[in-house]
């Protein structure tokens, strides 16, 4: 379809702006804009049609099953969208004085309390904008913690199964990365680990359940190893959907935890965001949390900026408030039933696993948590069909593909996370499709290589994109297509 700029015609517009009825002012000529930006010029009807058509070329959870591993693509309740639209939330200025924002502050405070209880830690900052920023915030808290104790620790340990944001965050936080291996059962290799933890060790970053969808069986020993070395444990909360009300990171021994509100607590993913990455810490790390925090005095709530040892700010204001409204609403609707939510997620995942284990290779034979990883290695070896081919073919069956090629330690990985909101019928139909595709790999591999066959476009040439680097519309000079 055409770009909105290709639909633009000089002189058309949707907006009408009222004349303010005061003398027209202007800026000094030296600072004035010379050539106007070429924004689209369309009447409102064409704008609505354009974005309506774009939406129909996008597959969302509302469209169908979206088992994108590690992303927890669960249903997003519509009441949450109604809630963020309340003027008292949507039109509240963040510099409003506290006595004019009591409702918002109470909501944030209550959310902090619920989040703390879910992970079993003492204090929460809602400020980080997403999981990866939660990581950077957590690592920055580590720095502050050790600096405060006058300790100079430079290394952070990460398992080879870690998500890419972990090492990236370590680097951005100025730490040196130390890698630890994964053992045969998919756990952190504790023997390998011992040798890598010492007085230079600031801490560990761990996802539990791991990115293999497996619970870290030796988590207690691991915590012991780090704590006895005076180091801290950081919990990457991306997989929290598996254990709400079942097992708490704080009880496992983690000192710092980040949440992904857009995963576990259903903030819609919006095609790539927004998200929310609150961070919870143990009591003795609380003093370093970003400002402002939300404090309670009896029945009133306030933003507390006066924290001498704070690391500062990691994002504007108190964080993505609209995301808090949705997460709060979601948690209030589940209440203590959050445990049932996680159980359903784990049951669904194990069911799909059980149905696929014969058709696809299961690298580690254990019950999974909320997601699991299978490999297309055999299909590749015997029929030349890769995880990518399987993913593309799934599109023809009407499903969004799983996460592929992650974690890196599993060849031809397909990481499948059904979430708790899918019906058994949907899971069965998906499993049937996966099994059928495994059969197609044998009978008609080329057809899989050519997949997808039913989308608005067929496989796209990513190399060409990287070569041409056409990353904006070029107007008159833009190459014509279609």
């Amino acid at each position: 379809m055409r770009l909105i700029y290709e639909k633009s015609r000089a002189g058309r517009r949707a907006s009408r702006i009222a004349d303010p009825g005061v003398p027209a002012a202007d800026v000094p000529a030296a600072l004035a804009r010379r050539t106007p930006p070429r924004l689209p010029e369309l009447a409102e009807p064409e704008i609505v049609r354009h974005f309506t058509e774009l939406s129909t070329r996008t597959f969302g959870i509302d469209t169908g099953f979206y088992p994108l591993g590690s992303c927890t693509m669960k249903y997003n309740p519509r009441i949450n969208e109604r809630a963020v639209g309340l003027p008292g939330f949507a039109a509240l200025h963040p510099y409003q004085e506290d006595d004019g924002a009591q409702g918002a502050l109470e909501l944030m405070w209550r959310l902090q309390e619920m989040l703390a209880e879910v992970v079993g830690l003492d204090a929460v900052t809602l400020q980080p904008a997403a999981g990866s920023q939660g990581e950077l915030t957590g690592l920055t808290l580590m720095r502050a913690y050790f600096a405060d104790r006058g300790e100079d620790r430079t290394e952070v340990v990460i398992p080879d199964t870690a998500h890419g944001t972990n090492p990236a965050s370590v680097a951005m936080a100025g730490y040196t990365l130390v890698r630890v291996q994964t053992d045969q059962r998919g756990n952190v290799d504790v023997d390998d680990l011992r040798g890598k933890v010492g007085e230079r060790t600031a801490g560990l970053m761990l996802t539990n359940p791991s990115t293999l969808g497996l619970f870290e069986e030796r988590i207690v020993d691991i915590a012991e190893i780090f704590h006895s070395a005076g180091a801290l444990l950081y919990y990457d909360g991306a997989n929290l959907n598996a254990v709400c009300g079942i097992s708490r990171p704080g009880d496992m021994g983690f000192d710092i935890v980040h949440y992904n509100l857009h995963k576990t607590f259903s903030q819609p993913h919006g095609g790539g965001g927004p998200g929310g990455g609150p961070v919870a810490v143990r009591r003795d790390l609380e003093q370093f949390l970003p400002v402002p925090t939300v404090a309670r005095d009896g029945d009133t709530f306030r933003l507390d900026h006066d924290r001498p040892k704070t690391i500062g700010k990691v994002r504007g204001f108190g964080g993505p408030f609209g995301v808090f409204v949705r997460a709060y609403a979601f948690m209030r609707m589940w209440g203590p039933g959050l445990r049932d939510m996680s159980e359903a997620a784990v049951v669904n995942a194990n069911y799909v696993l059980a149905r696929l284990r014969d058709a696809y290779e299961l690298p580690i034979d254990r019950h999974c948590m909320h997601e699991f990883v299978v490999s297309a290695r055999v299909l590749k070896r015997e029929h030349g069909i890769t995880a990518l081919d399987v993913a593309k073919r799934l599109m023809d069956y009407g499903y969004h593909p799983p996460t592929i090629y992650f974690p890196l330690i599993v060849a031809e990985a397909l990481m499948i996370e059904p979430t708790e909101t899918e019906t058994r019928e949907t899971l069965d139909a998906f499993c049937d499709a996966m099994v059928a595709i495994a059969r197609e790999a044998v009978e008609d591999p080329q057809m899989l290589k050519d997949a997808p066959h039913t989308r608005p476009v067929s496989r796209l040439d990513e190399a060409e994109a990287a070569k041409r680097l056409l990353v904006r519309y070029g107007f008159a000079d833009h190459p014509t297509s279609e």
């Binding site: 969208e81 904008a129 497996l214 095609g271 965001g273 504007g316 209030r332």
Partner: protein, 445 residues
């Protein structure tokens, strides 16, 4: 059951297929010691109707800009958000999809981002834009990281007139990047190019605002030249809603242009979610953080869009990545695109003009001494003759929020009030403000 479909019969049959006799068995690998042996201690579940009543009650205890005549700005601007923006954001497919890792499933999101990147490039006069950053503060830290990797230098220069929150965030993360931060104090409400030039010697980048936090217009071209002259990346932090009237950073030689997108199409929403934008000259593209969408073709030669240059990113480059970001602010950025499309170039200029003109009118009408006698855009700082914080408290009792107290962040400005005008305010509103300020004893000292 509202959000799950697991009936008892489903559960039993599924457990059978799995080969366990109870759900508990699935959690057997969790060490006994770290299993929670009680229900979570959170309030009981609410029905949707109960939740709605509760949330309306909470929202009702907030005094939003519809319940108070507000002149608050200071980085978050109360422009009118047209209904088309919300309508597009509520399209379920756009709302509930995730990052377009599988382009064939996400051409809509990808094309929208490509169109957004184009709009940001047009606004800022730059060659490339990423798909959005978290907000107007974090993109400043991103810019520092780009500069660190590009120049190898270790100093960040920021004008003190830059939004205090942006400076705070830069200070939080710079040490991790191995960078130190130097601030250049303002001179009479703006940044002096010579002092700025001096600070830029050997710096990786230099960040200045346009307009600045006092509402004043900076000598942006000179500041950009000062930075570039010293071999530092010149970074302008701009408000997109001013760029129909004010010159584009690209036109006065900046290497990067960044800013807070809220004013262009997002509700203020107590601080978020919004989108930060980051645009640059073409030469910096391989160092940019975050997603970038590029055009390509499918096997039949049809145009299509994909995430490109992913080799910059964490999932491939890991600790060598240009950033750790993955989830960004796509939906808010798309809202920005819808809004900018609704405005068009004329609408953008008209809104800017309206704000500017109202602010000029207000300066005269309020008749209070200006903290700085400089050209401004939609905000200006006045001296209230008594602590601004008191003035605000008193005025709010009369239903008017007169603005932001600069003393919160700047030494010796306790009696300075930052007043903001958007096109939603009128001459009558300004009269009311003048009246109230007089009534609460804000006087020319």
């Amino acid at each position: 059951m509202t959000f799950t479909s697991l009936t008892d019969s489903d559960l039993n049959e599924m457990l059978g297929t799995i080969g366990v006799s109870s759900v508990a068995e699935l959690f057997a690998e969790i060490p006994a010691g770290v299993r929670l042996d009680r229900r979570l201690d959170v309030d009981p579940a609410l029905t949707e109707a109960e939740l709605w009543a509760h949330l309306t009650e909470l929202a009702g205890r907030n005094v939003d800009t519809g319940r108070e005549l507000s002149f608050l700005g200071a980085g978050m601007y109360d422009h009118y958000v047209p209904a088309v923006v919300d309508a597009v954001m509520q399209r379920g497919e756009l709302l509930t999809a995730y990052t377009p890792y599988q382009p064939e499933m996400s051409q809509g999101t990808l094309q929208a981002i490509f169109e957004y990147q184009t709009a940001i490039c047009e606004l800022t006069g730059m060659d490339v834009s990423n798909a959005s950053g978290y907000d107007g503060t974090t993109v400043a830290a991103d810019a520092c990281f780009v500069a660190r990797q590009t120049t190898g230098r270790e100093r960040v220069v920021v004008a003190q007139t830059l939004n205090p929150q942006v400076r705070q965030v830069v200070r939080t993360f710079a040490p991790g990047f191995g960078m130190e931060v130097v601030e250049v104090p303002h001179t009479g409400g703006i940044t002096d190019p010579d002092r700025f030039a001096a600070a830029c010697e050997g710096a990786a980048c230099a960040i200045f605002p346009q307009p600045n936090f006092f509402g004043c217009l900076e000598p942006a071209p000179e500041l950009a030249a000062a930075a570039s002259g010293a071999g530092a990346l010149a970074v302008a932090h701009v408000d997109p809603m001013t760029l129909g009237v004010l010159e584009a950073p690209g036109a006065y030689g900046c290497a990067l242009a960044i800013g807070e997108g809220q004013s262009a199409g997002n509700h203020i929403a107590y601080g978020g979610p919004h989108y930060g934008f980051l645009a640059a000259r073409a030469e910096h593209i391989r160092k940019l953080p975050g997603r970038i969408v590029g055009e390509t073709h499918d096997r039949e030669g049809r145009r299509g869009f994909v995430l490109t240059l992913q080799t910059r990113e964490q999932h491939i480059r890991r600790e060598k990545a240009t950033s750790n970001i993955t989830t960004n602010q796509t939906l808010l950025a798309v809202a920005g695109l819808v809004y900018l499309s609704w405005l068009g170039p004329d609408g953008l200029r008209e809104v800017g003009r309206a704000c500017l003109s109202l602010a000029e009118h207000a300066k005269g009408r309020l008749g209070l001494p200006l903290a700085f006698d400089r050209p401004t855009f939609q905000e200006f700082a006045i001296r209230t003759g008594r602590p601004a914080a008191d003035v605000i408290r008193a005025a709010r009792k009369l239903g008017v929020h007169p603005g932001h107290a600069l003393g919160r962040d700047y030494e010796g400005m306790d009696d300075v009030l930052l007043v903001c005008l958007t096109e939603k305010r009128s001459a009558a509103d300004i009269d009311r403000l003048a009246e109230v300020l007089a009534e609460v004893g804000a006087v020319a000292a």
